[in-house]
């Protein structure tokens, strides 16, 4: 979406735009949540990357070998070298199941699964279809993860799906998180914890999974607690793209790119910018974040190329639909300074915030169309700017 936005702002005389990606499969990642429950097919949520790019953008289907910050060069896996005036790192996050002891040993994709990959989501669909009751543990190993609400949504949908299948009575559902509450922020945590109770899902907090024994069905935390499972649905550790480890000065210890939280310029070099899941910013790793960041980032890349001052325009704005089962969903909207609050979005006449409703569920489904037809082409959403709207939210006194 950045390349498309830039192409519209810069003509061919002003700039060449190159996009490098390791494959030609763009996954609509929010759709992965629905695959295990038969509500979406992988075919429907994957499209060729090339087709998402406007004319006048060169696509390289390559792995990045490394970035040389001193020479302003990107080296590709086939030996080609791309030099740049400005570099935008949008390489997302990489799943690292192998970093958790035992997770990828016996039991991986047999008793322990993740729905964060198309393959994993497909396998889970088969397993859930045949699941005949037992202990289902939903767990995220540690933050940061993409779409921090997704494991909660999985638990809510599993409750709904297993009820529909008539096996919920024979199923114990457990949600184990390293956080000290259902979610990261207090007001939303309270709402979400109440939903877990309502749906009879046990909440286990401060559970930092250190070891998984898939063969015997036990996940153990570093502090020695153990949870038995018949089926484990986990969100593996996340790190940055592998080339960051091979590019001195660009990524931090986890492979995320230290980035200015307002301008989206990296601390590596003034001509290197970053957005989306690739950054180390204290906001959600979510598509909405990337969309809001893109507008600010594109303006700042253009300013940089023109030798002008950057604008500290990004406020950490994120919003997410939280699917809760039974054709309902919640919506949350927040930024660096304001936690998710009740009210309506984007104005008092908009979608209800932090409350289950059918409208939000329809919103979540409709979002896929907007994703392919507005977000990726780099268009603004009508009525939704990069800054978080305050109008419509019920602000607690401390936020005034």
């Amino acid at each position: 979406m950045v390349a498309n936005r830039l192409r519209r702002r810069l003509d061919a005389e002003q700039a060449e735009i190159h996009v490098v990606d390791r494959d030609d499969r763009h996954v609509y990642q929010p759709g992965l949540l629905f695959v295990p429950f038969g509500l979406a097919d992988v075919d429907e949520i994957v499209r060729p990357r090339r087709r998402q790019l406007h004319r006048g953008i060169t696509f390289h289907e390559n792995e990045v070998d490394s970035v040389d910050l001193d020479r302003d060069e990107v080296r590709l896996d086939d030996g080609a070298v791309l030099s740049y005036d400005a570099l935008i790192v949008a390489t997302g996050a990489r799943l690292q199941p192998e970093e958790t002891e035992g997770l990828t040993d016996a039991g991986w994709n047999r008793r322990a699964f993740t729905f964060y990959t198309p393959e994993g989501a497909d396998l889970l669909r088969e397993v859930l279809r045949d699941f005949d009751g037992g202990r289902l543990v939903v767990n995220l190993i540690d933050m940061p993860i993409k779409c921090p609400v997704a494991p909660l949504e999985f638990a809510f949908l599993a409750d709904w799906y297993l009820r529909e299948r008539g096996v919920r009575g024979r199923t114990e559902l457990v949600y184990a998180t390293p956080l000290d509450a259902a979610f990261t922020k207090p007001v939303a945590s309270e709402h979400l914890a109440a939903l877990l109770v309502e749906k009879d899902i046990e909440l286990v907090t401060e559970f930092n999974a250190g070891e998984v024994d898939g063969a015997n069905g036990v996940v153990a935390s570093y502090d020695g607690r153990e949870l038995a499972f018949d089926l484990l649905v986990t969100v593996p550790l996340h790190g940055g793209a592998a080339f960051l480890d091979r590019s001195p000065g660009l990524g931090d210890a986890l492979g995320f790119v230290p980035t200015d939280r307002r301008t989206l310029q990296t601390s590596a070099r003034p001509n290197v910018f970053a957005l989306g899941d690739a950054t180390d910013l204290p906001t959600s790793k979510a598509g909405s974040v990337t969309h809001f960041e893109a507008e600010v980032l594109v303006a700042n890349v253009l300013s940089h190329l023109a030798g002008a001052e950057l604008t500290p325009g990004y406020d950490g704005h994120a919003n997410c639909f939280i699917e809760t089962g039974f054709h309902k969903a919640l919506l949350i909207d927040f930024n660096y300074d304001t936690e998710p609050l009740p009210g309506h979005f984007p104005t008092v006449f908009g979608l209800p915030l932090l409350r289950e409703s059918r409208v939000n569920h329809l919103g979540k489904l409709a979002f896929q169309w907007l994703y392919w037809h507005a977000l990726l082409p780099g268009r603004a959403l009508p009525g939704v700017g990069p800054e978080m709207p305050r109008h419509g939210k019920r602000m607690p006194a401390t936020h005034a």
């Binding site: 401060e206 502090d223 204290p282 927040f334």
Partner: protein, 105 residues
């Protein structure tokens, strides 16, 4: 926020017992907070983690997560849990006199 005497020094604490002003901290305060949280004596390994945490916070304005601690402090995650039972990042932050690490969202 309340002002409390720790190791004969007045310090400002938040509701969960984290110092709100890292400049009020000293090593005797660290030892006293550690004792209150079930760590009788701070070993060199404890200090390695506490100092790393504190330096990181003072340099970047945020405290590292458990994973970054495990990768960068020189003390692996398993040992972090032995040194600081329950939440190593939280407890090391408390002993190091810096605010509670923010769970990123």
């Amino acid at each position: 926020m309340t002002t409390t005497m720790i190791a004969d020094t007045p310090v400002d604490l938040d509701a969960e017992g984290f110092l709100t002003d890292p400049s009020e901290w000293n090593e005797r305060i660290a030892e006293a907070i550690a004792r209150d949280n079930g760590i009788d004596r701070l070993t060199d390994r404890h200090w390695q983690v506490v100092r790393f945490m504190r330096e990181r916070y003072l340099a970047n304005g945020t405290a590292p997560s458990i994973r970054s601690l495990g990768k960068e402090s020189g003390v692996p995650v398993k040992e972090l849990y032995q040194l600081f039972p329950r939440g190593p990042a939280k407890l090391a932050a408390k002993i190091g006199g810096i605010p509670k690490p923010q769970g990123c969202i």
